[in-house]
């Protein structure tokens, strides 16, 4: 898509050097946007009423129905997306490499917990909140109900932004990675302002958690990992003693894992009818969705709609590499969704939201996970039913809602 408001390096350079750069706009869509269809052979401009409502973003793979008007443009009557990818049935092959290892002989297997934006190191309060989280997950706090619930959580997936950005303390996480920030570069040279504390603190929590459940940690925008996608996992050794637990895994973002439900029927299982299906989980730290949301007006399209759309486009990050930075790939595109995941978790979102997306007999549970530091929300997904609960953890209150 051709958008006049896209950030433009030439403009940055051409701008008068003495004026401070205006803040990057929150949204980049405008009336003058044009939609192009492109392949290796070239481009053609798409026109048609339908496009206005289609909420397209750059890089979407699309089939268009219509005709070349002879005016060098293509009148679109209908659009067609790939639709949701096939879903793994029981008989499907499993990617054994990505199979979770069984951490211990635990029988708790009912829920998987998602969390994002621990933001350790931003404020002392978040630290306390994280402490509550650890206690909750390890069953060390809450009433009996809560403990019972917690005991069924078999693993925790941390979707990015575990550490506060390396900015001045208390500064908001930088939502846009477009801004070329010169300040941190200078700060990088300044060794004194660095505090190893957040990493140690995170490591300590991970260590505690790993003793009782499997933990996956995905790097997010503010985490110490390259900022271009797919984000490489930081060396697990960074997390000190926690790294010794094989159940605790550091992953790259985005990350797909196939989760074979552990064999035993847990006591009080929420969905007793289940016959141990495999569950694929697709997890990202939210950068693609954050970027895409700049392309569309807020009002009619929610982030949830966009997340759903990515499933239908079969592509997690279409806007890469145009406005979302990614590693170059020649042969394969790591962002293509070849299998519809059962659970599609997106971290670092402004609000919690969830929807069960269905397409024929394919379905997927989409979960937008907000920042824990700001909302105190921990999201639980039932592995059998794909039902969602949220647990609100503040420093002293734990509330459940289904």
């Amino acid at each position: 898509m051709d958008m006049p408001l896209k950030p433009n390096v030439l403009e940055d350079i051409g701008r008068d050097h003495s004026l401070p750069a205006p803040p990057p706009p929150e949204k980049i869509h405008s009336q003058d946007d044009q939609v192009m269809l492109e392949d290796e052979s070239g481009r053609i401009k798409l026109v048609g009423k339908i496009l206005a409502d289609a909420q397209l973003v750059t890089g979407v793979i699309v089939g268009v129905l219509g005709a070349d008007t002879g005016n060098g443009e293509f009148e679109v009557v209908d659009l067609c997306f790939a639709g949701m990818a096939p879903q793994t049935g029981e008989d499907d092959e499993m990617d054994t490499e990505d199979t979770f290892l069984c951490s211990d002989g635990s029988t708790r297997n009912g829920y998987i917990a998602f969390i994002s934006g621990l933001d350790i190191g931003s404020t002392p309060a978040s630290e306390a909140q994280t402490q509550v989280l650890t206690e909750y997950l390890t069953g060390a706090c809450g009433d009996l109900d809560g403990q019972g619930f917690a005991s069924q959580i078999s693993r925790l997936v941390i979707l990015g932004n575990s550490l506060a950005p390396l900015g001045p303390i208390g500064a908001p996480a930088n939502e846009d990675n477009d801004k070329e920030d010169e300040k941190p570069r200078r700060r990088g040279n300044d060794t004194t302002s660095f505090s190893p504390h957040p990493v140690q603190s995170l490591s300590a929590h991970l260590h505690d958690l790993s003793q009782s459940l499997a933990v996956h940690i995905l790097p997010g925008e503010s985490d110490p990992s390259g900022s271009i996608l797919p984000q490489q996992a930081p060396p697990r050794a960074m997390f000190g003693p926690a790294s010794s637990y094989s159940s605790s895994l550091v992953r790259q973002t985005p990350h797909t894992s196939v989760l074979p439900q552990e064999c035993k029927q847990g006591d009080g299982d929420v969905d007793p009818s289940g016959s141990a299906p495999t569950r694929t989980i697709l997890a990202t730290s939210g950068q693609p969705l954050n970027d895409m949301s700049k392309y569309v007006p807020t009002a009619p399209t929610t982030r949830l709609d966009l997340a759903e759309a990515t499933l239908k486009w079969r592509h997690i990050a279409p806007t890469a590499p145009d406005t979302l930075w990614c590693h170059p790939f020649f042969a394969l595109d790591p962002f293509i969704i070849s299998q519809t995941p059962d659970i599609y978790a997106i971290g670092c979102q402004p609000q919690f939201a969830t929807r069960l997306v269905k397409d024929g007999n394919r379905r997927s549970r989409v979960v937008l996970v907000p920042s824990f530091a700001q909302t105190g929300i921990l999201v639980l997904v039932g592995l059998r039913s794909l039902d969602v609960w949220i647990v609100r953890l503040t420093e002293d209150i734990i509330s459940h809602s289904g």
């Binding site: 192009m36 052979s41 401009k45 070349d68 293509f74 067609c80 390396l166 110490p224």
Partner: protein, 1074 residues
């Protein structure tokens, strides 16, 4: 196209295209060139598509394939139809079939039909003073006498005329008008007179000065028939003979014969100010060169020719096509015509040109490259039918070497190809002539005027693309089409064609003269026209260059400094023309001592003595010709400006604006004409008197202003003239209030005007506040015409358009001026400068800021030059990628051996990046930055200015460690700890790790640091790369552009290397023990 797109659902779809309406929309939309925003860099393929969208054409005529022919012509009846057309080209023609010379006029009617009028019976002539005692009876024997000695004389006629030169009293003198058969006979017959070889009854003694004998035949014709460049001509019914069938010699639709005095020439006023729907062809060719060699027509094929044809007055080209050698995938909105044989392609292109029949051919560097290359290439391919690109069927187009030398524009060698009946406008030549730019590449010109970067594909890549697939050739074709469209857009944006048309009309010369001739022919044309009206004849001087100099304009010594109070500027409007008018300075009013005595003239009654001690008669005795010319020009300009205010139609406005501009330039060039010692009619008494008056007036203005606006006269401050130059004075009136100064300014202008002779007028135009006066002709200030908001930042003489400056200089100076003048923050400017110097010394300045580019124009430069030396060295390293003749060489200055000259230290920026060569920051500081910086800071800081260049901020220096070079061959590379730079050895670290054991506790911190750095470089590179992808208009293909003028090219290259380095350093952590 749908079949080529990623469509999954287009099968079985019937066309939904609605057939385009028969009437084509031809509205004047603002062209895309109107957008200055750099943000709207849509891909060119899209632009093509858009053009087609707006022209509403049907699918069959993609790229205007059905619109090549001119509109069909209804049969013409000689006795009924008059023929009215705008002439574009007037040439003399010789034909053996008829004895005399003819004038050939090509033009276009309002209906878009092409016309060729052959004008008959116009005979060239000139004047000779009739010797005393020559009588009417002597004419016949005299003609006979001339014919027997030189021949070619038709008649001699006695006429009463006055010589233009000097005032000798009012009685006209007797002249002989000698009419000859052929233009080429003029110099021969003239020679007889000039050499004193006429021996007619002893009446002639010695050499005789001839009059009006050096004027081109076509111009003579135009003057006598009152035809001016690009005007409308009407040939009434019955006055012409149509030529048909085999009589026709041209490809024009209407061809006719007319006698020279049988047509009407319309002055370009009112209705006749319009412009016919001329067809403008803009084209560009691509050649497949070999590696390292600039394409040569004898070897390297022409592979593509892209064409855009636009009707004058329309904003979109109605024909867009590209001729390609070998197959090429289709391009939306353009017709692709593929060939397997190059000769056939060239031939077809020629046919295309004939069919489309453009009146004006434009392009970028077509005069020196594209057209000669095509013609030479056709010769090499033995395509004999090719070089008939003009309108005459049997005239080959030939390339000639032309040498252009003008005082105003310098010397230039160029090639010239006459295409009969078609105008040429090489936009490059136009740019070189009308705009002073840092670089004249199409890319930088577009960046300057259209606000766009252009993809620049190196010619070695072109060959690769050509040898690839239809897709890669398509890519090349899109590039080529873009290059063909840009000249058209530049022309529209800058109004080149309209402005030149108006210039031709105002000065009365053919359009072609404007680019191929200098200034003086324009003045001469006006002078001849006026002289004809008033009965003067103009003497022919042998042009001999004299070195005689005269004193130029005066400059009041500037009181340098930074003025933080409003400075009013008082300008004399059109100073030199007004002086000439006010004091009646002209050839015809020039007196000498003997005439004064002979006619007994009284000083200040009959004549004036100028400050230069020349004498001119007063208008009461005789009104000068030049003042009349100037008055006409100035009143015409006033009219044009008044009409401009009333006019609402954008096209007519453009014409009027072009006209007033042309009139202004013309009025100002009259003075220069009289002072051009190498010109046709130099008259130093006029030009030096003009400047002498100018000097006097500036001084007088100063005296008047300073005397009137003083404390003694009851004003709050003593006014002070701080600077004055040619036609303006800068006055510090004292008050700090802007409005008050403006009021005083206009009052003072009126006050002083009263002291001068009409029409000299002093005007108050603007206030500079603040004002930085650096030196003579060097100043900068914030420009105010109204007190609410400043208009712009104005700077003279400090723009760093010099090409041997790097971009850094420009950026620094501009930013400093901005800080000083707009932000009023001198301290900020100082700090900024220090920061930049510090960055420079620490190697933090972006490479693209340091690159200097120069064209490699020839091989044998006399002196050693940096870019030539570098090209030579690059050739030794890799002949393939080395710059070839004609390429632009970009270089940076790197550190070299002590005492090495700058030219030895030049290096290829890419090589510098790859090998981490240290840049010679000292060179940049001392040879590039220091002088301009000192210039702007000295008036402010005085002695202290030098402190900018030395001191605390210059202490930290970082020098890159090169990976090549003499010493480096002996160096052993060791990896150092990222924490403390200790060399890593087996005993203090893990193998291929990142840090030493001592720093291990800080591993987290160091890792963080490295990650942050790596991700920043990654983001930076990603941004630059996607920008380049957008510019080229495809996200699927690799970026090919190697435009050395693009500000992000080196940045992109550097970022690429930075990413690689940062990531490889980061990887060392993988081996680390945590």
């Amino acid at each position: 196209m749908p079949s080529k797109t990623q469509s999954t659902a287009t099968n079985g779809i019937t066309s939904l295209a609605t057939p385009g309406p028969a009437t084509k929309k031809q509205k004047l939309l603002p062209t895309p060139s109107g957008s200055q925003s750099q943000g709207s860099q849509s891909s060119f393929a899209e632009v093509l598509a858009k053009i087609q969208l707006e022209s509403q054409e049907s699918a069959e005529s993609e790229g205007g394939a059905d619109a090549w022919e001119r509109p069909h012509l209804q049969p013409i009846v000689e006795s009924r139809d008059s023929i009215v057309f705008q002439q574009v080209d007037i040439e003399d023609s010789y034909d053996s079939s008829h004895a005399g010379a003819r004038i050939r006029i090509c033009g276009v009617t309002q209906g878009g039909h092409s016309v060729l009028a052959s004008v008959t019976d116009f005979m060239p002539y000139f004047f000779v003073p009739a010797p005393r005692g020559f009588r009417n009876e002597d004419i016949d024997p005299f003609v006979h006498e001339l014919n027997s000695s030189v021949g070619g004389v038709i008649s001699v006629e006695l006429v009463q005329k006055r010589s233009l030169w000097g005032y000798l009293g009012d009685e006209p003198a007797m002249f002989m008008r000698v009419t000859v058969t052929q233009p080429r006979n003029v110099p021969r017959v003239r020679g007889v007179f000039e050499n004193g070889e006429v021996n007619f009854r002893g009446l002639f003694s010695g050499p005789v000065t001839t009059f009006e004998s050096n004027i081109p035949y076509t111009l003579r014709f135009m003057i006598d028939t009152k035809v001016v460049g690009m005007n409308w001509i009407e040939i009434p019914a019955g006055k012409y003979t149509l030529l048909k069938g085999r009589e026709k010699k041209s490809s024009c639709q209407i061809e006719l014969l007319v006698r020279w005095d049988q047509f009407i020439s319309h002055a370009p006023e009112g209705e006749w100010a319009k412009v016919a729907p001329l067809r403008i062809l803009s084209f560009d060719i691509e050649c497949a060169g070999r590696k390292g060699v600039f394409p040569e027509a004898s070897v390297d094929p022409v592979i593509q020719i892209a064409n855009m044809v636009t009707r004058q007055g329309e904003s979109r080209p109605f024909i867009r096509n590209v001729f390609t050698l070998n197959t090429c995938s289709s391009i939306v909105g353009s017709q692709v015509i593929s060939f397997t044989s190059e000769a056939k392609m060239l031939q077809r292109w020629r046919d295309f040109v004939e069919q489309v029949d453009p009146d004006l051919i434009i392009g970028y560097n077509i005069a020196n490259f594209d057209i000669p290359y095509l013609i030479d290439r056709a010769k090499a391919l033995k395509a004999d039918q090719f070089p008939y690109l003009g309108r005459l069927k049997n005239t080959r187009s030939q390339v000639k070497d032309a040498h252009f030398s003008s005082k105003a524009f310098g010397q230039r060698d160029s090639k010239e190809t006459t295409l009969e009946g078609r105008l040429q406008l090489d936009v490059l030549q136009y740019m070189q002539r009308e705009h002073k730019l840092r670089s004249y590449t199409l890319n930088s010109v577009c960046a300057q005027f259209l606000g766009e970067q252009k993809e620049d594909v190196h010619h070695s890549v072109i060959t690769e693309l050509q040898n690839g697939t239809p897709e890669s050739r398509r890519r090349l074709a899109v590039y080529c089409l873009k290059d063909a469209y840009l000249p058209q857009r530049l022309m529209d944006k800058l109004m080149c064609f309209i402005n030149y048309t108006e210039m031709a009309r105002v000065t009365g010369v053919p359009f072609n003269y404007l680019l191929s001739r200098g200034q003086s022919i324009k003045v001469l044309s006006q002078l001849f026209r006026k002289a004809l009206d008033e009965g003067y004849v103009i003497p022919t001087f042998k042009s001999e260059g004299s070195d005689e100099q005269y004193e130029g304009a005066t400059v009041i010594e500037p009181k340098k400094g930074y003025y933080d109070v409003p400075i009013a500027t008082l300008d004399f409007s059109s100073l030199y023309p007004s002086i000439m008018m006010a004091h009646n300075l002209c050839y015809t009013t020039l007196l000498d001592k003997s005439t004064i005595e002979r006619l007994n003239l009284q000083k200040d009654v009959d004549y004036t003595q100028t400050p230069n001690n020349d004498w001119f008669v007063k208008p009461s005795r005789r009104k000068g010709l030049l003042p009349t010319v100037l008055e006409d020009l100035i009143s015409a300009r006033k009219r044009a400006k008044a009409d401009l205010k009333k006019e609402t139609d954008p096209f007519k406005r453009a014409v009027l604006d072009g006209r007033q501009l042309a009139l202004k330039i013309s009025a100002n060039s009259v003075y220069g004409f009289t002072g051009a010692t190498i010109g046709k009619l130099p008259c130093l008494p006029i030009s030096s008197s003009v400047t002498a008056y100018g000097r006097q007036m500036i001084e007088k203005t100063r005296a008047e202003v300073e005397a009137e606006y003083s404390v003694a006269n009851g004003h709050s401050h003593n006014a002070e003239v701080i600077y004055g130059d040619t036609d303006s004075v800068m006055v510090r009136f004292g008050p700090t209030d802007l409005e008050k100064v403006m009021a005083i300014g206009s009052e003072a202008a009126e006050f002083v005007t009263k002291k001068f002779v009409k029409p000299i007028k002093l005007e108050f135009e603007k206030v500079y506040y603040p004002y930085l006066l650096i030196n003579k002709k060097r100043y900068a200030g914030l420009y105010w015409t109204k007190s609410e908001k400043y208009d712009k930042m104005d700077s003279k003489g400090i723009e760093t358009v010099r090409r041997d400056n790097c971009r850094l200089v420009q950026t620094v100076i501009e930013t400093c001026l901005h800080k000083m003048l707009i932000d009023r923050d001198v301290k900020g400017a100082e700090d900024y400068t220090k920061q930049i110097i510090s960055d420079l010394l620490q190697n933090k300045v972006d490479m693209s800021q340091l690159v200097i580019t120069k064209a490699l124009a020839k091989t044998d430069y006399t002196g050693k030059q940096a870019h030539v030396e570098l090209a030579e060295r690059m050739k030794q390293r890799d002949a393939g990628s080395a710059p070839a003749l004609g390429d632009r060489v970009a270089y940076v200055i790197v550190k070299g051996i002590k005492g090495a000259a700058a030219y030895e230290k030049s290096e290829d920026p890419i090589y510098v990046l790859e090998n981490n060569l240290p840049v010679d920051t000292k060179y940049y500081l001392e040879n590039q930055l220091s002088k301009p910086l000192m210039r702007i800071f000295e008036p402010i800081l005085g002695e202290k200015a030098a402190s900018l260049l030395s001191g605390e901020h210059t202490r930290t220096i970082q020098i890159a460690t090169p990976t090549v070079g003499g010493l480096m061959k002996f160096a052993v590379k060791t990896v150092t700890c990222l924490g403390c730079k200790t060399p890593l050895r087996a005993n203090n670290s893990v193998s291929t790790g990142a840090i030493c054991d001592n720093c291990r506790p800080r591993i987290n911190e160091l890792y963080h640091k490295q990650v942050t750095m790596a991700s920043q470089t990654q983001v930076k590179f990603a941004r630059l790369w996607t920008q380049c992808q957008r510019c080229q208009g495809s996200l699927h293909q690799d970026v090919l552009c190697t435009s050395k003028d693009c500000p992000i090219f080196y940045m992109r290259k550097k970022a690429q290397k930075d990413v690689e380095d940062a990531v490889s350093t980061l990887e060392r952590f993988d081996n680390e023990v945590w």
